[in-house]
Each structure stands twice: as structure tokens, then as C-alpha cells.
Point group: C2
Chain length 239, copies 2
């Protein structure tokens, strides 16, 4: 799954391949280990080098800079995403399955989603997912132009949601009851606002506090799919 043409903008290791135990793969693996244990902020060039019992300068023979390392880490993580087989329910079920899978995998790797927001994920696994999304959307009978844009917007939505969730998990640095307490505080604050200046916010205190991260993600996903359905021509697709 990784023998696609190498992108022209990806700088190759400074020249040839390393002959010593150090290699892109070994470094990548070490970096992902640190990501799993200490989060993205733990992944520094020094920390990765230390994990491999070497100095930070050694890594630069295999990666042009830290961003390139992060990009490849991100694509590696996307490799864990399973895309649904042909003929597993209708297109909405398939699309939701992909979205939930990507979200799950991203969140399970700390706050790596941040990387996906910053760069366009064009690694082999990013392409594989993009291809899968395009396939599902076309199969649904959505016109090509809308298919292309929808895949773009959906990727953005999934990554942004994963980033938001993983980030607030990192802020409260641990227990779920801590972030629950934070949200309770926010709701309490809404309740204390002057109703004449914030009539809607105060009136909707109940609904605003309702629903966890998953519910909200599902709602957004649903909105997305409902909107997309309106682009399916009357004669095509939904059967």
C-alpha cells in the first residue's frame, strides 16, 4: 500500500539510504511510541533522538525537518483506518463508518489530528481514505463536482472534531470527570448571564449542555449527509 509514486514536494533523505540501524522507519516507529505515551507535545527531535540513543542531528539525515516527520507520522496513523468493504449497507452507512473510523483512530493517537489540520494529507494512506470517500459518494449518485468538494469538507470536519476533542482531553490532563466539571462550570456560567442581553443563550442552557462529544459529532455528520442527499438527482442513486 506504500508503492505509490513519491510526491515531488517530498524531499528525500539527504542522499541514498542510511546503512546503520537508523532509518526513516526506525525513527518513525520511535516517534509514534512517544506520541502514544506522552502526546504530541512530547514528540521533540531531542526526545525522539534520545529514544534511539543518539543526538538530534542524526535525525536530519532521514527527515528534512520536523514537519516532514510529523506528516509521515500522520499518514502512518491513518494506516490503521479500515475502510468498509463493497456492499456493506447504503452509502450513508458507509460514509458514517469511514468518518467514525477516522475519528476513532485519530483520537486514539493523542492530539495527532493537529497535524492533519495543518497539512493536506497526501501520503499513501491519506490518498487511500480520500479514494474511499470519493467512491462512496459517487456510488450514491452525487454529481462529480459535489463529490469532490464534499470529500474535502468532510475531511476537514472530521479532523477538526478530532482535534477539538483530543485537545480538550489534553487540557484536563487526565480524568474525564475533570472535563465534565469544566463543562458544568461553563453551563453554570451561561445560566448566570443577564437574560436581557443573552436571551437565547440563557433560554437554551438545557440544550446547550446536552450531549457528549460523540453525540455532537454524529449530529454534524447527519447534517452533512442530509445536505448531501439534496444533491442526488431524482433519477439516480438511492435505490
Amino acid at each position: 500500500m506504500s508503492d505509490v509514486p513519491v510526491p515531488p514536494w517530498r524531499t528525500t533523505p539527504k542522499s541514498g539510504q542510511a546503512r546503520k540501524p537508523l532509518s526513516q522507519d526506525v525513527i518513525l516507529r520511535a516517534a509514534l511510541r512517544i506520541l502514544a505515551e506522552e502526546g504530541l507535545e512530547g514528540v521533540s527531535m531531542r526526545r525522539v533522538a534520545q529514544e534511539l540513543h543518539t543526538g538530534p542531528a542524526s535525525l536530519y539525515a532521514h527527515f528534512a525537518n520536523k514537519d516532514e516527520l510529523l506528516e509521515m507520522m500522520f499518514d502512518h496513523v491513518l494506516g490503521e483506518v479500515r475502510v468498509p468493504e463493497e456492499g456493506e449497507g447504503d452509502w450513508t452507512a458507509k460514509l458514517k463508518a469511514i468518518a467514525w473510523e477516522v475519528r476513532r483512530v485519530l483520537i486514539s493517537h493523542g492530539d495527532i489530528a493537529q497535524v492533519g489540520l495543518a497539512v493536506v494529507p497526501l501520503g499513501p494512506n491519506g490518498l487511500r481514505l480520500s479514494e474511499a470517500m470519493l467512491g462512496v459518494l459517487r456510488e450514491a449518485g452525487i454529481p462529480d463536482q459535489q463529490v469532490a468538494w464534499a470529500a474535502d469538507r468532510l475531511s476537514l470536519y472530521i479532523t477538526a472534531d478530532a482535534f477539538e476533542v483530543s485537545y480538550e482531553a489534553r487540557r484536563g490532563r487526565g480524568s474525564p470527570e475533570e472535563i465534565a466539571a469544566y463543562y458544568a462550570g461553563v453551563i453554570q456560567y451561561f445560566r448566570s448571564l443577564p437574560p436581557d442581553r443573552f436571551p437565547h443563550t440563557t433560554a437554551l442552557v438545557g440544550p446547550l449542555g446536552q450531549g457528549d462529544d460523540e453525540t455532537r459529532f454524529e449530529f454534524g455528520l447527519d447534517l452533512f449527509i442530509r445536505g448531501l442527499s439534496t444533491y442526488i438527482p431524482a433519477d439516480g442513486g438511492t435505490s
Copy 2:
């Protein structure tokens, strides 16, 4: 517009107010000046302190840490957003107007959107915008629970899009033709992919390359609104 109750989680300046020219407001203004001229990465505590002809330690008497400074900068930026008056078109026009306004203001301030993704914007101006969105959605006749969640998802979408756009503007460090060239390279890369493994990606090379950032944002916004419309009960709202 700034005399709402102070949030309990906002740490106040270490005690009392500064009597010297240094104050939250002066620091904030200096930081925003740097943001405008050098982008978010230029905003370091040292750089801000230098702008005020002082040392970095002085800032910590007015802000608990850099994150707090960034949060207040973000809310200050949101203060530039104009929300539509009562009765300016139907709810879809109003919602779009708010979304475009927020996006425009965020992008016009470098990559400040990054801050909005990381924290929940609960400053006075964040609340004002949230209130405006809730109002428009309720007016449309959407049930309360869906109103609450939709405002949440829409904020996420706008901020994420603004971040993506501002970030890629920062990457290409200047000329729009540079990022155009980058995108042309990406499309060229899509074209070079093996069609048997990437049938949809290669088939959709045309549509994938179509449309600029604004068109894509508008498309996502439209998807969102179309989906939202399906939640309006048959007897309510659209008249």
C-alpha cells in the same frame, strides 16, 4: 459590550491593577499589532515585551500565561465581527452573513483562528456571536436541541476553515501564485496516480482541482444549511 460577569475560570491579574502604563489593555494592543504585522508565530512573550520596551517577566503580572493572552486576543478579534440587524433577509441569508463575517475577520488576522480551535471562545465577543447564531436558528423554527448543536458545529466549521486557509497562506509565505503553484502540483500528482488503484481520484482530477477556498467554504456552508432545513417542522418557520 465587555461588562458581562467575569468567568470564574479566568484568573485575574495577580492582585489589583497596575498603576504604571503597563496594563492588560496596553499589552493586548501591542500583541495584536505584532499579530497583524508578523503573524501568530511572531507573538512571543519576549517580542510583546520588547514592543513595550520592557522584559518578558513584566507581562506575567497581567496575564497568567501566554494561553490567557492568546484567548483574550482572540476575543478581541471577534469584536470586529458585525452581526446582521433584525430583519435583513431570511434565516439562511443571516446565517451565511455571520459565517462569512467571522471567517473574513479571522483570516484578516493572520492565523489567529488556531487559538479558536484550541479553546472554547467564551469571552464577551464569543458569547455575542454565539447568541446571534442561536437567535437566527431559533427564528428559523428549528427545535431547541438542534439549534444548540448546530451553533456548536457551525462554529467548529468556520474556525477550522479559517485555520486551514490562514495556515496554508502562512506556509507559502506570501504570493498567491506560490500556493496556486502548489495546488497545481497536487493536481498533477493526482493525475500521475495509477488509475487501477485510484479510479475515483484520477477520474475526478478535474472537479478536485476546481474551486478556490471561498467556493469550498460556501459549499460546506450550503451543505450545512440544507441539512439544517430538514429539521424545520412543516408548520413552522420559513414564511
